[in-house]
Structures are given as C-alpha cells and as structure tokens.
Symmetry: C2
C-alpha cells in the first residue's frame, strides 16, 4: 500500500495526517447520521475504502506545493490533500459500478457489499439493484464531501479562488475520460490515439497533473510553474496508466487487489489491446475480437489472451512506451526550476509509480 510513498521523506507523516483528517471528517459525519437516524453504512463504507489507498494524489498535491516553493506542510494543505483522496473514493465507487468489478483493494466493491447488506428478503436481482443504487449514492456523497473537505480546509479567499477552478477542471476531465473509457469498452479497436486520450484524461491529468497544480495553486504559483508541472505530469501520468493496463492483465491479483480477468472481460480499450489488434495475425485477431469484452471469459481464455498480447509484441511495446514517457518526464524535471528537494521527490515518485506491482 505504501510502495509509492515509502521512498519519500516525510511521506509517512503526511499519510498519517491525511488519514487522520479523513477519519475525523467521517467520524463527524457518522455522528451526524446517528443523530438524524440515517444509515451508518455510508460512512463505514467510505472509511473502509479510504483507509486502503496509496495516497498518491495527496503526495503529489504536497509535492506541487513544494515545487512552487511552499514551505512546511500547513494544515490547510493537508486538508485539501485529503479532499483529493475523498474525491478518489468517489471515482473508485462509481468506476466499480460501471465496470461491475467484484472487488477493490482486496475487499468486495461497495455495490457488492451494499447488495449483501440490503439483500435480506429481496431477490438476487432486486438486491443487486439496491446495492447499485446505494453505491451510486455513496459515491455521490463522497463527491459532495470532497467538496465539503475542500471548502472547510481553511484556505484564504485568494487560495480558494485559485484552487476551485482547478478542482472543477479536474472533475470534468476525469469524468469525461471515464465516459470515453466506458463507451469504448467492449469493442476495442486499433485506435491507439483514442486509448491514449483516455489515459490522458482519466489518469494523467486527474492523477498527476491536477494534484500537482492544486498544491502549486495553494502556494500562489505563477503560470510557468503550472506549465513545468504539466510537462512532467502528462508523460508520467500516461506511463502510469500504461503500467496500470499491464497490471490489470498481467498483475498478481493478491498484490493488485483486483482480479486479473476484469479488464479483459470488460474489453477495455487500452493501448495494449489496440497495439495487439494492429499486430495480430488473422487467428490472433479473431481471438482478440471474440474474447476481449466477452462477459463469460474464463481463466483459460484469459490466459490465451495474455499469450496473444505477449506474442504480438504489444506487451513489450507498451513497456517501451512507458520507458520513453518516463524519459520524457525526467527530462522535463531536468529543466524545471523547482527547489531541488521537490525535484528529488518527483524523481522518486516517478520510479515508484512506474515500477509498481499494485
């Protein structure tokens, strides 16, 4: 869980503080829900989900602050960082509904958990529907509460005025990215460019660029700082998504916390799939087209798909792309005029994010 964070100085302390903010916030919400006779499973679900995160976005938010010459780690900054983690919980919950993922971070996905919770006296399909509806709402609450955490973070009006438009952009970008992802899923094509656009919006901008920008905005950064951060963030973020695509297919479920068949069964329109379709011979193409996105995909078929993704060279080509994007990102750091320790953090983050196994 702390693979990404462990290499960074003071990262552990930051993680502890972010967790404390989230737990304190959810304790308050649980207290309020109790008083109003509202269901307590909402805050419990969010607490369980939010505890298990890598905290990549909070770390990047603080690093963006440092890159813009912010000093120390003020409480308002930590609370904004925590709001990004709450926003991420929203993304995970709604994504898992859309992908119908059974598990997340080694536990049942929220819609599955709530289907069980409200299953008594209901048919299986009715329980599934209630579980999905409840999870949509828990996600909605996480989105609303990420705003609340941000609004109450203690930013001064100038900081809030700089941060809000960035948060608004971040929200639209990741939602549009997910929209592209969802509408392309089930019928991957040879269109590598479309797959890269999904990676850029859903991941590069959302996971890397905007958290850095938001931290920089709190420090009152001028425009060139944002641009230098983007020059680093977009390639490293795209590489991060390419690594994620590989882990989704070739990763170890015990380590990733996600079944290694989900992405294949969904027929995600990834760069990996697009390249394989480009390079496949007739038999391989037929197999890719019939099996990628097949709802009934079994383990043997998944293994066969993995074989094709490797044999076509798509897998190693994606590794090459990751390497080249990593080089591009590190070069952007070479010419960035951030304080040296911020540069060092970003270098370390690059390596742990792109070499990760979960």
């Amino acid at each position: 869980m702390t693979a990404v964070a462990a290499d960074l100085p003071d990262a552990a302390a930051l993680l502890t503080r972010v967790t404390a903010v989230l737990e304190g916030f959810l304790d308050d919400k649980a207290g309020g829900a109790g008083t109003l006779r509202m269901p307590l499973e909402v805050t419990q679900c969010l607490r369980d989900l939010a505890v298990g995160g890598k905290r990549l976005r909070p770390l990047l938010c603080v690093t963006g602050w440092q890159a813009a010459s912010g000093r120390g780690t003020p409480g308002a900054l930590v609370r904004v960082a925590a709001s990004l983690e709450m926003f991420h919980a929203f993304c995970l919950i709604h994504d898992d509904i859309m992908d119908d993922s059974g598990s997340r971070r080694g536990a049942p996905a929220i819609h599955r958990r709530l289907a069980l919770h409200h299953g008594q006296g209901r048919s299986t399909s009715a329980a599934e529907r209630v579980g999905t509806s409840c999870a949509i709402l828990v996600g909605d609450l996480a989105l609303a509460w990420s705003g609340e955490l941000l609004h109450a973070a203690g930013l001064d009006p100038a900081q809030l005025g700089a941060v809000l438009p960035l948060v608004d952009d971040m929200r639209s970008e990741v939602m549009y990215g997910q929209y592209l992802d969802v509408t392309a899923a089930g019928r991957p094509t040879t269109d590598v460019d479309r797959a890269l656009r999904i990676a850029r919006y859903k991941t590069a901008k959302y996971t890397v660029e905007r958290p850095l920008h938001i931290g920089a905005a709190i420090a009152g950064a001028p425009l060139p700082v944002y641009e230098a951060l983007s020059a680093y963030a977009l390639p490293v973020g795209e590489a991060f998504q390419l690594r994620d695509d590989l882990l989704g297919v070739f990763g170890t479920p015990q380590v990733t916390g996600k079944p290694a068949t989900d992405d294949l069964r969904e027929g995600k329109h990834t760069v990996l799939a697009a390249l394989a379709l480009q390079r496949a011979d007739r038999n391989q193409r037929r197999a890719l087209q019939s099996l990628l996105g097949s709802p009934s995909l079994d383990e043997a078929e998944a293994a066969y798909l993995r074989e094709i993704l490797t044999a076509t060279g798509a897998r190693s080509e994606v590794e090459n792309m990751i390497h080249s994007l990593r080089t591009q990102a590190l070069r952007a750091l070479d010419i960035a005029s951030f304080p040296p320790f911020a540069i060092a953090h970003l270098r370390q983050l690059t390596d742990s994010a792109l070499a990760r196994t979960s």
Copy 2:
C-alpha cells in the same frame, strides 16, 4: 411547466435569465468538448433536461434573498439560482437510474436515451449497461458543474463563505433522503414516520428550505431569518412531497410527464402507502403487499391498487395532511418579519406548489 412560476411577479423574467445562464454555460462546455474531441451528447442531454424544469428552486432562492431584504435580482444571485437547477438535473438523472424510470419531462430518461445512442453493435443488456454508466457520468458532471456554476457566480468571499456550507448540507441531505427512499422501496411498511423522514430530507429540506436559505445567505441574513424560513419551508416542503406522491399514483401521465405506474411498481415507501397498509383489511393488505413493488405490475393491477388507496381512506388522509401542513406553513408566514412582497411571493408559491397537477 410554469404553473408554479406564472403567478409570481417577475418570475418569467427570472426564468428567462436562469435559462440563459444554463444555456451559456452548456454552450461553453460543448465548445470545450468539441475542441478536446469529447462526446457532445453529454451537454446535449443536460441542455434538453434543464430546459424543461419548473425552476422552483431558483424561484425559492431568489425569494429567500428577498425575505432577507435583498434588493433587485443581481447577476450573481441568478447564477447561484441556475447552479441549483444544474444540481437538480444531477438529482433527476441519478434518481431515474435508481428507479429505472423510462421517461422524464415527457422525454426518455437519460439512461434510456444513452442506451439507444450507444446501442449499435451491442446486445440489449450491454447497451443498457453502457446507457446506465453514461448516465451515471452525465449526472456526475451535472453535480460537478453545479459546483462550477456556483464557484464562478461572482459572489464575494463573505457570500461564498456563507453559501458553501449550506450547499454542502443540501447535497448531503438530499442524498441521504434518496438513500432512505431507495432502501425502503420495494417493501413499504406501516411506518409513517419513516416515510415522513424521507419526505423531509429528500424534498422539504432540499427543494424548499435550502434554496431559501441559500438566497438568504447571499443577502447576509442573520440567524432568525434562517429559522423563520425553516418554519415555513419544512411543512410546505413535506406537503409538496405528499402532493408528489399523490400525483405519482393518481396524476395524469400526459400532464406529469411520468407514467402513473412507476411509483407503484417501485413500491415507494410513501405516507400514502404506509397509511393504506395501516387501514387495509386482510384482502386489501394482501393485495398491497403483493402488488406494491411488483416489477411486472400491469395497468389493471395499478388501477386496483389505486382503488384500495382510495377505499382505505389513505388518499383523503394524505389530502388532509397536505391541508394541515399548508396551514402550518401559512401561519409561520403570519409571524415572519420578512418584507411584505416576500411574504406575498411565498403565499403564492405555497398555493401553486400544493395545488399543482404536474
């Protein structure tokens, strides 16, 4: 559509301004989506949905401003009012997914429309899933964009600081209310209190109290103004929901824009259903329990349920409750120290909201 609004002085002008804000905002978003090669159906869905609204919340927001002695109708106020309408679009889209409503405001519900839009080359069930996923995301975007409209409304820092916590509360309240509604649906009981709690959170606070409070907050209202607004808003809002429950069962689909079987088929835990279960004889109870929430409910069964809801006296009891809540709300206005024209607006709103047919 403008039944509620038509009686109010200057209401038509306000509606025009709110619509112009929403259209201008969505035009900008559509332009941005075009540039980024993002799908244009998102903004088109929101535009079509947002055009058809009654604009009740914007009207109440402006009335709250007037009650707190705000003068004129400044642009920032109109933009905040428009943000409430965008938030309402979010609620409708996600609610329609949860209720699996086929239509809204006389047009196909967004998840149905997007299932059709993305149906080509997909099985029916795959198209439905994509439609639902896309609609979840269009709703998420509407929620995010309601925030963006608010952030960019042009409030000064003191106004923004007063409004944001109210908006945060409003979001949590309606989401929790919907959560109660969803988990109670399909198995209505005799628990009238629970049904009233749903009405209070999902409707009274969300539709009436918070829009009034938000308008008052922009005018810098002191605490007693909020309390006086609540004393009016909560009874009128509960009555509004009770009227909605009656319309959902006994209304004319051509006028409400919603099939009159949806609520019965969902087995909504309404005061109407709870009272009928309390008062039913053995045969009636058996029919209510087997038919309320039956996914296959047909027109004849729905007609039979309507007969029981009437024969048990539940329908007229709900009418009595509406009458009594209306009296309570109007008495609260008698002792409120709002400017006379604000009182007059609230009186007119009460009558048109509670006597409405759609």
